[in-house]
């Protein structure tokens, strides 16, 4: 019964005259369902990212080209998803979610062991990917779809259902073990519930509960995860081991000063001091070579994307669209905050790449797929049944 009701047409927005849209001719952007502002900002961000990557990868043009190709693929995925109607996502949410959970179980049973953790699923010669990556979208999609058919603010019963929907994949991801991704999946889904109007009493209660869970979590963490937390609390305690990353990245950023040392001129980044300088720590290269000014420009770009995204979310006509769009965009901000925070030494080192700047394909595709759905939600407003 619940699954059937899920696929009912979207609940209608309160009656309001469509804002003069009938008379106006549709612009080209409206016809291809792409938001030009968001697209423009994303492209600027990606172009800047490639510039930094060239420097961070030791001036290997091959890496830049590879990354540009990935961006191309990611943009194509975004454009494709933007063409689909939000109803489609609503309909596919349980299927994507179910498939994702099955794949996470498959990884647990038969997954390829890479980097000491089971994260990859591979059909040899055909495809190889991380199901947990897909869950970054599928879980919030599922929660938004579920809440779409509930009365909001959600009652306790709905919240329990949501907790189960969120908990299952998060636990499966965490035991891979990939704590970073599982937390990101969890936060994306929890944001949906928060935006839906989770009562403050409950928020306070859960917060207290989580606080109480910290010791238990600590007991169950892998050694390297604990080490990361300890190092964060006192990087100087282990200057050659895990503290190395933080000391080196803060040195790189700090020595950049206001204006930076100039593109390709960063001594810390161009030397082999910086670890993972083209992936998770790429912003240290930016900080060193372009200084505080460069950092502020980057942050401003991110903020503009978040601002535009929230605007699109708020102008969405139905609960599902609002909740999901809001979650996508706020998760995006969390990535930025966690990455910059970790590289600049105010957060522990967790493996979160800088969105659309760090070298790597999977996360870019996931991010832009999310933006694609966001654009679809926005662009198909007037196509909804009235």
């Amino acid at each position: 019964m619940p699954w059937q009701t899920l696929t009912r047409p979207l609940r209608r927005h309160p009656v309001r005259p469509p804002d003069s849209g009938i008379a106006r001719r549709k612009s080209i952007w409206e016809r291809i369902h792409i938001d030009p502002w968001l697209l423009g900002l994303l492209v600027i961000l990606m172009a800047g990212g490639l510039l930094v990557l060239y420097s961070a990868s030791g001036q290997r043009i091959e890496s830049v080209i590879a990354q540009a190709i990935r961006f191309g693929v990611a943009l194509a995925v975004m454009a494709f998803l933007a063409q689909l109607s939000p109803t489609t996502f609503l309909r596919w949410a349980p299927i994507a979610y179910g498939a994702g959970v099955v794949m996470l179980l498959a990884v647990e049973i038969a997954g390829d062991i890479g980097m000491g953790a089971k994260r990859w699923l591979e059909i040899p010669g055909v495809i190889r990917f991380q199901p947990s990556e897909m869950m970054k979208l599928a879980v919030p999609l599922m929660v938004a779809a579920y809440l779409n058919r509930c009365q909001l603010p959600p009652r306790l019963r709905d919240i329990v259902v949501c907790a189960v929907i969120i908990g299952l994949p998060v636990v499966l991801t965490a035991i891979q073990p990939d704590l970073g991704t599982s937390l990101l999946v969890a936060s994306a889904a929890v944001i949906v519930v928060l935006l839906a109007g989770l009562s403050w009493r409950l928020i306070g209660f859960v917060g207290a509960l989580l606080g109480a869970c910290v010791p238990i979590l600590w007991m169950n963490m892998h050694n390297y995860q604990r080490q990361r937390v300890l190092t964060f609390l006192d990087p100087e305690s282990d200057p050659l081991g895990s503290g190395w990353n933080i000391i080196q990245s803060t040195t790189a950023i700090g020595s950049g000063g206001l204006w930076g040392k100039g593109w390709l001129e960063g001594t810390q980044s161009q030397l082999e001091f910086l670890p993972e300088r083209h992936t998770d720590f790429i912003i240290a290269v930016l900080g060193e070579e372009f200084g505080l000014v460069g950092m502020l420009i980057l942050l401003a770009l991110y903020l503009m994307i978040v601002g535009r995204g929230l605007w699109l979310a708020a102008s969405s006509q139905d609960t599902f669209g609002r909740l999901f769009a809001g979650s996508i965009i706020l998760t995006f901000f969390i990535y930025v905050f966690v990455n910059v925070g970790m590289v600049s030494g105010i957060l522990p080192v967790v493996g979160v790449p800088l969105p659309l700047v760090s070298y790597g394909g999977t996360s870019s595709v996931t991010l832009l797929a999310g933006f694609g759905i966001l654009m679809s939600i926005h662009a198909h407003r007037r196509l909804l049944p009235r």
């Binding site: 700090g254 030397l271 929230l310 910059v340």
Partner: protein, 635 residues
């Protein structure tokens, strides 16, 4: 419709909740962003001075520690490839003020000839990962090290680096099989794992060194050092030790290998010996050899050109890449194919008038003995190497069956497990000819194939491997070079082994073996002089291969021309027949005088392996060969 009103009310409420929550989210985003901005401003403005000092004064550098390359031993633990401590000259381009000046100064200090300046230029400008030392010169002398030490202050970015350098004690004997390491070149750099090869300058280029590169290389370590602004190391902060590469024990027996090399006595050719039961390659020699140590330090242009332009092709690994017509050495395999296919029985005979004629064809395909051998059965056909018997056999089999059966012995394909750069030889077939020449297969060509001529080409390794299979009564074992890797034995069952060859009657193997024994001990045997005084049962088969033409771009003087047009001598053998311990193939290019030369060498190999210390040495064999040279005999 109370539901509907409910919905309407809720929608408004939902929107309100969402807007409130979104507003809160915006506040959170703003707060967190200001936190980041605050932190960045603190690092980049307030603490800028501190970090600048930290980044410029005392730099911390991560230096790779290359692993020691695994050693290579022969089957008895004799060292074949070792690492010798040497001093290398390296240069970090990014730390050099003026590259041209530095290079000029180096050439002057080291008293190098002008040509080397160019080589220095190329090596120092070769694309590298930033701040990786480029290897300019290996194996510095004591004096050169001293000169560099004195002038160190004038040479920032230049380092004398102690490194272990590969050394091959028996380089000429082992050169082709063992291969050698050389400097990593630009193409290799592209495909290498940068982390694993940080600080490694050498990589296996050929042979075992190449095939087992992964195992021999090991894992690089790291050390973190504090340096001054000029890049000099002040102190070590910590290190991860490198993991040395695995030592490899080969199946090669160095004394047998050396004997094989000496037996060739400066002639061109190859000897391959295999232990049939296990497929272990006991010896694999291609002559002439070369000094592989030259390639480790970087061979100079003149020497390299000399090696390349040498008409004897010393760099060419004949054992695995030389294509030779197998001649009569493949007759035992054809006999087995005939038995397996039911075309002949061990007792069926033919009458040999000295030639064979195809039906409706006037052309006569000749036996090597003009007047023929008369009545010939299986065993006699092998002992006297009768051609007519095999023309008949090949014609009755037909090319398709023949191709299929011979492929079952490994002809026309790569046979070994871990031999780098092996060639597949050529087993002609109807399809091959159509593809290659776009021509149909003619029946006469089947006859040529029947006596190992025509398009058929084998490598010495293939011939030895097929002989080992025959000695095993059809049981296929893949030839291999590694006995142990890091102390662990290789698995016995290697992948992609061919199917065993089955005969209807197991006793037929003995009839073929008997024929092969008569080659050496029969009164008519083609190698009967070689078989004199055998202390064990040995089976073999002789062969000669005609040299049809020489390469057009090669110039020879008259004497040389005559020498290079002589037939190749071939011999394949195994012993003891009742419990095969060794299978050998011998090819002596342009030996002349029929196959006897190769037969003597094959006997010397089996003697050495089976009789150990009591076997005659290379010098004794040389005397026998000289006596023999007076007499000349056919196949």
């Amino acid at each position: 419709m109370p539901q509907r009103r409910d919905t309407l009310k809720n929608s408004e409420q939902e929107l309100r909740i969402f807007r409130v929550r979104t507003l809160l989210a915006v506040l959170v985003v703003a707060t967190l962003t200001s936190l980041l901005v605050g932190r960045l401003a603190y690092l980049q403005i307030v603490q800028h001075e501190i970090y600048t000092t930290r980044s410029e004064k005392n730099r911390v550098r991560v230096e790779p520690l290359p692993p020691n390359r695994g050693l290579i031993y022969d089957r008895n633990g004799v060292l074949l490839a070792e690492n010798r401590p040497t001093y290398n000259l390296t240069l970090v381009r990014e730390r050099v003020d003026s590259l041209d000046e530095t290079l000029a100064l180096l050439v002057e200090l080291l008293e190098l000839p002008e040509e080397d300046v160019e080589a220095f230029n190329v090596r120092s400008r070769q694309r590298q990962r930033p701040f990786q030392p480029a290897l300019l010169m290996s194996d510095l002398s004591e004096e050169q090290i001293a000169r560099l030490a004195v002038n160190r202050h004038r040479l920032p970015g230049v380092e004398v680096e102690a490194q272990l350098l590969r050394y091959y004690p028996d380089s000429e004997v082992m050169a082709h099989t063992l291969g050698y390491v050389g400097r990593i070149n630009v193409e290799e750099l592209q495909s290498l794992d940068a982390g694993r090869y940080a600080g490694t300058h050498f990589i296996g280029k050929t042979g075992v060194e190449r095939f087992y590169e992964e195992e021999l290389h090991g894992e690089a370590g790291l050390r973190k050092v504090e340096t001054n602004a000029r890049g000099r190391v002040l102190r070590e902060l910590g290190r991860t030790d490198p993991v040395p590469g695995e030592n490899i024990t080969l199946t090669i027996d160095k004394s047998l290998q050396t004997l094989a090399y000496e037996l060739m006595d400066g002639r061109r050719g190859s000897i391959v010996a295999i232990a049939p039961a296990t497929g272990e390659i006991l010896a694999m020699v291609s002559t002439p050899g070369f000094d592989s140590n030259q390639f480790v330090t970087g061979i100079d242009v003149a020497s390299y050109r000399g090696l390349q332009e040498d008409l004897d092709l010393p760099l060419f690994n004949r054992s695995i890449r030389g294509h030779y017509p197998p001649g009569s050495t493949i007759k035992p395999f054809l006999a087995l194919a005939g038995l397996a296919d039911g075309v002949i029985t061990p007792d069926s005979t033919i009458n040999d008038p000295g030639y064979y004629q195809l039906p409706n064809d006037s052309r006569r395909y000749r036996n090597w003995l003009r007047w023929g051998h008369g009545r010939v059965d299986l065993e006699r056909s092998l002992a006297v190497s009768n051609n007519t018997y095999y023309y008949t056999l090949a014609h009755d089999l037909g090319i398709d069956n023949l191709d299929k059966r011979m492929s079952g012995f490994g002809f026309g394909q790569r046979v070994a497990y871990d031999v780098q750069g092996e060639s597949s030889g050529l087993m002609p077939s109807r399809e091959w000819k159509r593809e290659r020449f776009n021509q149909p297969w003619y029946p006469g060509e089947t006859l040529s194939v029947g006596i190992g001529q025509g398009y058929w080409q084998v490598t010495p390794l293939q011939l030895a491997s097929a002989t080992a299979t025959l000695a095993n009564r059809g049981h296929w074992v893949k030839p291999r070079l590694a006995l142990q890797i890091g102390g662990e034995p290789l698995p016995q069952d290697l992948p992609n082994t061919l199917d065993d060859i089955q005969l209807e009657n197991d006793a037929w193997w003995d009839r073929v073996f008997s024929g092969m024994e008569k080659v050496l001990n029969g009164s008519e045997g083609t190698a009967r002089r070689t078989g004199v005084g055998l202390e064990y049962r040995m089976g073999g088969k002789s062969g000669t291969a005609q040299v049809f033409s020489l390469g057009q771009d090669q110039r020879y003087n008259a004497d040389e021309l005559e020498e290079r047009l002589r037939d190749h001598a071939l011999f394949m053998a195994f012993a003891p027949v009742d419990d095969p311990q060794i299978a050998v193939s011998v090819i002596v290019e342009n030996a002349g005088g029929g196959s006897t030369h190769a037969a003597h060498l094959a006997r010397a190999m089996t003697d050495a392996w089976l009789l150990k210390d009591e076997a005659p040495d290379a010098e004794d064999v040389r005397e026998v060969l000289q006596e023999d040279n007076a007499q000349v005999e056919g196949n």
